[in-house]
Symmetry: C2
Amino acid sequence: MNNKIKVLRENMSLQRLDGMIITNTFNISYILGVKAEGTLIITDKENFFFTDARYIEEVNNTITIDDEIIVIDLANISENDFLGFFENCNKVGIEENDITYSKYQKFIRLFRLKDTVETGNLIEKQRMIKDDEEILNIRKACEITDNCFNHLLNFIKIGMTEQQIAFEIERFFIENGADGLAFDTIVASGENSSKPHAIVTDRRIKSGDAIVIDFGAKYNGYCSDMTRTIFVGNIDEEAKQLYNFVLACQKRASNKIKDGADGQEIAESLEKEFNARGYSLIHALGHGVGINVHENPILSYKRGFMLKENMIVTNEPGIYIPGNLGIRIEDTILVNKLRSEELTKSDKNLIII
Amino acid sequence: MNNKIKVLRENMSLQRLDGMIITNTFNISYILGVKAEGTLIITDKENFFFTDARYIEEVNNTITIDDEIIVIDLANISENDFLGFFENCNKVGIEENDITYSKYQKFIRLFRLKDTVETGNLIEKQRMIKDDEEILNIRKACEITDNCFNHLLNFIKIGMTEQQIAFEIERFFIENGADGLAFDTIVASGENSSKPHAIVTDRRIKSGDAIVIDFGAKYNGYCSDMTRTIFVGNIDEEAKQLYNFVLACQKRASNKIKDGADGQEIAESLEKEFNARGYSLIHALGHGVGINVHENPILSYKRGFMLKENMIVTNEPGIYIPGNLGIRIEDTILVNKLRSEELTKSDKNLIII
């Protein structure tokens, strides 16, 4: 049986659910292993995926007999056929944060549902723990990202625009086996580097610039996420010290990431180091990475969260001096029993190109 | 007063609505003139936009006193404050195809709503008729697209990959004032050209290829959409005749597009021309273009639809011979009282590069 459905059924039984209607596109592609529009339903005995002609061939090519998912073309099913699916289910879970009001009303009517139950983010929580295949995909996405960074160190030249560098990243990813970008690349140079969520501009790289490059590839539907801050031509003593301070903090946080560690404690301890120098971390320390580049859990001093084996999270402290300089260093990290493994392995010592 | 809200209020009163909750991001950006996450509510007397710190500055910089929209930071409002907004509204419209089940439940509770009413696609329908500013933005997006096509005629060379051409389009758009791509570009060459929804590959351009290029820019949030099919090196007599046949059909359909014309009749008449040669149009003839590249209305032989002045629609017939050749010619067209105006003006006579 599809192991993801097996775990889901266990989680469903903890909530005493007899069935579930899954509408969230990312959760569907998590379970099916392929991106397809439709609705996945888990009934007391079987699993069905309702879709249309556009996706049937690809879905059938991806799932196997072992998945035990029956694919149904909506064109071949009449209103009356829907009555049978949840006949033996009293409590049917819905994804209340995804399903639209009109779809909800339609399903109530079509399936004659007796009792629907809000499931919170049941599958999103399940997705936090990655299986071997997911880890392999993210590992590969990280590897392509590392290779791209090495390439960029030779590619970036004074006079180029941020936009040109961003394009080169996308080109490299696609020509090196990635599906494409995991998210909109950030290339923030000079004064732009102080904006944590900078958008790419046509500013040209100058000598003396810091360049924050925050980028990630998608491979087989799974993301990587890495940031490196590099310097052009020269660096003043103050920036150098700041860089090495952020790096030391990032490494200390990385070393604390392991099964059983509390994400809040790791973020709090980094925040204390920042505060001692007069800085503060103005965004979360990290987040889960998987099908989405931003997933559960969030690593932040605002809430407690126990890390578990086979979670994949980022560690990305940054210091931003408005209008002047920003430094962020980020890795994608696999949580292990004893010690974390950084899946992005690019050099993070101070680099001047 | 904001004219879009004025028209919306007229449409609301036709449905006897006292208020409305707008959650659809595109509908919100249509009314506000800026992309921002939040909820727009229209009450019996006033208009409020609930948002958070990330968007308040930009929204306030975009809207004016005349818009009569009160912007509220969700951080500055308590649960009790919500009670007052719809106090005098019996029937409050919702966007049932957009609002999630959980948001719906939250609003029912917070606003103590008495009666909610499904509004169909009320604002989506309003968006079909473009105002002067919207037409200007789409006109500009089309102009950038035309300039890009001219550039491509010199840029495309034998040996290049489809991907390289697609990148060049994005680069050109961004460096020439567009926000970016209106949608994922299609560059489908040789045998790929026969797939109407081809994805870009690393196939290299060869002599003898047809290349279907379906692309559009976004300018101030508004889209253009154009397709040209060009040939490389040479063209055989059969392909040449097929091209000129599609072109003649496309021109005849363009000439029929005007205020009061029935989209179904235009599509039916083209389908008859196609059938007479043994072909069939396997997708819609056209669609509305605006904030989204695919909007209402749909021009298809499957349903009647009366075109009206200031709608902007595409006209895009195509013939696809599987594994061999595809030819599609598409323009973005402004519907006028007497005669349509093609906003995309690129040469569509047979081009061999």
